[in-house]
């Protein structure tokens, strides 16, 4: 079996607020294999972005990683062999974390405006990143000149399908349309040749036509450079097209995880099943009531006891669902699920 590039183990992230503490991420585990696309789905607020920001040690205050490991396999360099390091142990602003951000792991953040500063051109910002991580382009350490970095940016813009790249390099982010800004963000993320790209809803704000182009682009990059991708989206259609494996999250935990075909064709967790039923399909019957998930997402201060999904579960097994917290256990070919319908294992409390 291939060793994972990234392995998130039992991650817990808490926000201590005046009203109480929010367990935004409450025991998340998943692996990313080299060159694979992992899709992450789940309702708003279930902890997708916080999990991703934890990987890069970018969790906003007052968020804290309370528990767990994030193991990353550093590539061999300068005669150093491959090493596995726990990212949670690195200083947030230390040199090691900075060397990893961008060059090893790049993030396309969920807020498109947050990615670029409004006072510098997008080109200048990408040039700066390339010069900072110059060994990604010129391994001998002799550096990348500004002119050379600019050439690289123009080339990247061309790769991501930005027309008139020579002119667009000098634009400010607010001068670009949503679709162009999204592409510029992808160019920025790729500018240091990361081995792992984390895309947090990179196509939510853009049209299907532009989305199709962006997805095709990401697939090509993954094929060409073997970049692994973690892809977060609400859109199950996008997941079906992009992912090799899927992680379904609910209230800060992994409900189910497995190969994309298993998730779509033999989902095991009641939440995954309900989610798949609730989407209007482009081929299904129209103007009929869609199956829905009963109730609403609990308030983060008001987590249910036992299985977090039990107040809404339409396949509830029994009293254990409200008493104990099922944990993620393998049940089938690479498929794992947190549900008592499939095993009896629970967290110790």
């Amino acid at each position: 079996m291939t060793a994972p590039l990234l392995s998130v183990r039992d991650l817990h992230v808490t926000f201590g607020l005046d009203e109480g503490s929010v367990r935004a991420v409450d025991g998340v585990s998943f692996d990313v294999l080299p060159g694979q696309v992992v899709g992450i789905v789940g309702e708003s607020g279930c902890g997708k972005s916080v999990t991703m920001r934890s990987i890069l040690q970018l969790v906003d205050e007052p968020g804290r990683i309370k528990q767990g490991e994030i193991l990353y396999r550093m590539r061999a360099a300068n005669g150093q062999p491959e090493t596995v390091i726990d990212l949670t142990k690195l200083a947030k602003r230390g040199p090691q974390m900075r060397a990893i951000r961008g060059a090893e792991i790049a993030l396309i953040p969920q807020e498109p405006m947050a990615a670029f500063s409004p006072v510098h051109t997008v080109g200048d910002q990408i040039i700066e990143a390339i010069q900072l991580h110059h060994t990604q382009w010129v391994p001998d350490g002799s550096g990348v000149s500004r002119a050379k970095a600019r050439e690289i940016v123009v080339e990247l813009f061309r790769d991501v399908g930005i027309s008139m790249p020579e002119q667009r390099v000098d634009a400010y982010s607010w001068q670009l349309s949503g679709g162009l800004r999204q592409r510029a963000m992808i160019a920025m993320a790729l500018s240091c040749k990361p081995r792992l790209l984390i895309a947090d809803e990179p196509t939510t704000a853009i049209d299907v036509t532009t989305q199709a182009q962006v997805l095709a682009l990401l697939r090509e990059l993954q094929r060409k450079y073997g970049t692994a991708i973690i892809f977060i989206t609400h859109d199950l259609g996008v997941i079906a097209q992009m992912a090799n494996s899927v992680v379904v999250m609910y209230l800060g935990r992994v409900a189910e995880q497995g190969p994309v075909d298993a998730i779509f064709h033999s989902p095991k967790h009641p939440y995954t099943r309900a989610l798949l039923r609730s989407i209007p399909s482009i081929v299904g019957e129209t103007q009929v009531a869609l199956p829905t998930i009963a109730g609403t997402l609990p308030h983060p201060f008001n987590r249910p006891t036992g299985c977090p999904y039990h107040p809404r579960c339409d396949e509830r097994k029994g009293p254990e669902c409200a008493a104990r917290v099922p944990n993620l256990q393998p049940v089938d070919q690479g498929q794992s699920v947190s549900c008592f319908l499939h095993h009896d294992s629970s967290d110790t409390q």
Partner: protein
């Protein structure tokens, strides 16, 4: 040519004729007009009583501007917006003054995309939902309380919630509150601009079900604006497709999705990712960027991106035609092209 039913059984509630909305582009200290954004550029269609007409198209194609003209939140540049009132009187909303519009406000209501922005955070649900009632002359507080309670029940919220503020509710619940507010005056036409776009899939399903149910119970007519084709297909009787300010195709939902006649419609459909990993990913057929409505291309606005474009398309703008009854399309070659979709 107008997009109306040929085999006409239903009556149109709304008839849009040659609607245009141009926004001036100004420059210099004297705000000289140097050009126009042709946001809505000669659009005509009908909305029949009791139906849902879906309006789709890429960002910036003029969906919201069309909706805002109908609501007269903005004044159209030209064209007619004929609305049939309860007493069958037909009025042109485009020509009415603010005062003349006032009595019509109750009959036409709006649901917005942003469930957070459309409610006043400093007002309770009672005031948020009851405000249109007050504006329309229901001054008796008790009467309003009863009506608000009924409305909350109608959209699946508990009447006890009436005295709470919007921030105490989730996105889906807030959208329900927005719907209750829109329905408070017993409107006949509801214009919904991206009403489920900001919601999670599971919440989206609840709100779509609610809209379908309310429509059948109250006989509402919807103009449903959205960019998600699966959602539009699910809820609409007919679908209109816009491109750069123009209507390029309009047909009954099933016909449009199984046999689109405009190259843009078929490309748009092919771009929708199908939620089944066993269906191979289609080739990207629509490349390039949407042209600016300030400077649309010559001839057919779609020609720079159309894989069927000919020399004729570059110079001659196609008219909206009706090649088969009830199916409207703006393309020179609508009768000849073979545009089978993936579905």
């Amino acid at each position: 040519m107008t997009a109306s039913h040929s085999a006409d059984t239903q009556q149109p509630l709304l008839q849009i004729r040659d609607l245009r909305k141009f926004f001036p582009i100004t420059a210099g200290v004297f705000n000289r007009t140097v050009g126009h954004v042709r946001a809505v550029d000669d659009v005509s269609f009908d909305v029949f009583e009791g139906e849902t007409l879906g309006l789709v198209g890429e960002s910036g194609c003029g969906k919201t501007t069309t909706s805002r003209c109908i609501l007269r939140a903005i004044d159209p540049t030209s064209g007619q917006i004929l609305f049939r009132r309860k007493n069958d009187e037909i009025v042109d909303l485009a020509k009415l003054t603010r005062e003349e519009l006032q009595p019509l406000r109750a009959e036409i209501q709006m649901i917005f995309q942003d469930p957070f922005g459309s409610l006043n955070p400093r007002m309770t649900l009672f005031d948020n939902v009851g405000e249109p009632l007050l504006v329309n002359g229901m001054t008796n507080r008790e009467e309003r309380t009863d009506r608000v309670a009924d409305l909350l029940k109608l959209v699946g919220l508990r009447p006890e919630f009436m005295h709470r503020f919007p921030h105490a509710f989730s996105g889906g619940q807030r959208q329900r509150i927005g719907i209750a507010r829109a329905l408070s005056t017993n409107p006949r036409l509801v214009v919904a601009d991206e009403p489920v776009s900001a919601l999670d899939v599971s919440v989206q399903a609840q709100v779509l079900n609610l809209l379908l149910e309310l429509q059948s119970r109250l006989g509402l007519t919807f103009l449903f604006v959205a960019h998600d084709l699966s959602v539009v297909r699910h809820i609409s009787d007919r679908v209109a497709v816009m491109y750069v300010g123009q209507l390029v195709e309009l047909a009954p939902t099933k016909t449009l999705f199984s046999r689109p006649r405009h190259p843009y419609t078929s490309a748009l459909m092919r771009a929708v990712p199908v939620p089944d990993p066993r269906i191979p990913v289609g080739e990207v057929t629509l490349k390039g960027e949407v042209p600016s409505p300030a400077n649309p291309p010559s001839g057919c606005y779609f020609h720079p991106r159309c894989r069927f474009a000919t020399d004729r398309c570059k110079v001659e703008a196609p008219a909206l035609r009706e090649p088969s009854p009830g199916h409207f399309v703006r393309c020179h070659f609508a009768d000849e092209l073979d545009l089978t979709t993936a579905f």
